[in-house]
Amino acid sequence: MELRGLTIHALREMLVRREVSSVEVVQAFFRRIEKIDPQIHAYLVVARKEALEQARRADEAIESGGDLPALCGVPLAIKDILCTRGIRTTCGSAILADYIPPYDATVVQRLKAQGAVILGKVNMDEFAMGSSTENSCFGPTRNPWSLERVPGGSSGGCAAAVAADTCAGAIGSDTGGSIREPASFCGVVGLKPTYGRVSRYGLVAFASSLDQVGPMTKDVEDAAILLKAICGFDPRDSTSAKVEVPDFRRSLVRDVKGLRLGIPKEYFIEGMDPDVERVLDKTIGLFEELGARCTTISLPHTAYAQAAYYIISTAEASSNLARYDGVKYGHRCQGYGGIIDMYEKTRTEGFGAEVKRRIMLGTYALSAGYYDAYYRKATQVRRLVKQDFDDAFEVVDVILAPTCPTPAFPIGEKTEDPLQMYLMDVFTIPVNMAGIPGISIPCGFSRDRLPIGLQLLGRSFDEKTLLQTAYTFEQETGVYLERPPID
């Protein structure tokens, strides 16, 4: 069967009409993974046995008719940061290389309850720390549009698998851009929901005040379907929001007439990549043609968000990652003197360079004598960043910006210079700092035929307006229909 460009909604139609069975679809995906994945290395685990079992159950449900759950028989890839019961969950780290969770993350539980088939677990930067998926202890993932380039990160495995059609859709996570940046680099749709929208229970923690789970898909309709399936209040996450979950598919309406669209001048700066500038200018022009009212706005603290983010996120990470001590789960070193020796050897062997660097930075920012100068200062700047967005949303409905300063860069280009790597997230980080939702959708190509992403930002819990805006653009242009050359 043809898997290229196969969306969740199209597949569901085929399954419901019994043109194909879920088992057949899953087997077709296995064959495609076997053929394509050695080139891109998105999958860390293909859960053959479990996936076929779930597919068989979905087929039985379809056979017996009646109301079928939204994702009945639909095969998905899951970022290896979400716990999957009985299936190895590594977070891209040697310290969790053999970890088999005894439970499912709430998101995984909800997907299964909706009939989804978990095809496998996909690659990522270790503990979600990175923008290129080069920091995985299992080796990098490659971009399906150009195998010499990174897929972005940290949800690079998800983005590459969706772009290469080795899954119908995927679930990633976003702490500072980790869904949107790879979505931009791989030409797929990536949605970071409002903080609190989706439960973090069973999501391996990086920076708890910023982490959020979200869908990565081939079109906006699929993003709406997956978002609906995973969000909602969860008593097991103390920051989970008690808010109503709308039927996001209702927002799939082609209309932006009268929409107030803000163009933040701080995101369109001198010296920006000419391809990104050209494609974004064209995008703004199209929105105006479609009747949106575009105005230039200012988010004055944009330039400070980056520095504040790397203080807050590393501080939280240094605390969260203290749990990897070789006692209850995960790697433990061989041969040690006492308990401290065991801790130190275990952690030194288990963590990669970027994770160590961030633990060190976070430890520094929280340490006596530096706490006020770094951590406290950063949390004050965080309020200013959030205030910028609050002020902007007084006068506009949606903010439009590039997702990334450049298209996908070559593998190895930024690995020696952490600061250069950090700067890839300059347009995505403020969104996590403020907790608002953001979506990246494909909006054009560079001259080298690399995808370029459009980022749309909305008010807290207003994913509906974001989806409608994204859907209108997507249906007008059809850029999302383009597939990478890999086959």
Binding site: P235, Y310, I339, Q380
Partner: protein, 99 residues
């Protein structure tokens, strides 16, 4: 090159706090990289935040209470299944208390 914000000695001290062990080479590399990153972060000092309330979280955080009721939980076997070392239903660690 501007002044060092963090010395080699401090890098070693921090590694100790974080329970990490660095080789001489790593200490050197981290010192250089952390200095660069920290000097970038000093950009924040351009902002006067003396009247800004710190914000550690976007949701107004308060304690999330629940009923103190018995709920389903992991079995002892499930809780121990990933333990690197176990003995008699316990997590096993090297001796901590000197006897």
């Amino acid at each position: 090159m501007d002044r060092d914000r963090i010395s080699r000695e401090e890098v070693r001290y921090l590694a100790g706090l974080a329970r990490l062990r660095l080789s001489e080479g790593e200490t050197e590399t981290f010192a250089v990289q952390l200095n660069r990153i920290l000097s970038y972060m000093e950009k924040l000092n351009e902002l006067d935040t003396s009247r800004v309330e710190p914000m550690s979280h976007v949701v107004g955080m308060s304690n999330a209470f629940r009923e103190d009721a018995v709920q389903e939980s992991f079995s002892q076997e499930e809780a121990l299944q990933n333990a690197p070392e176990r003995e008699g239903g316990f997590f096993k660690v090297p001796r901590i208390v000197k006897g």
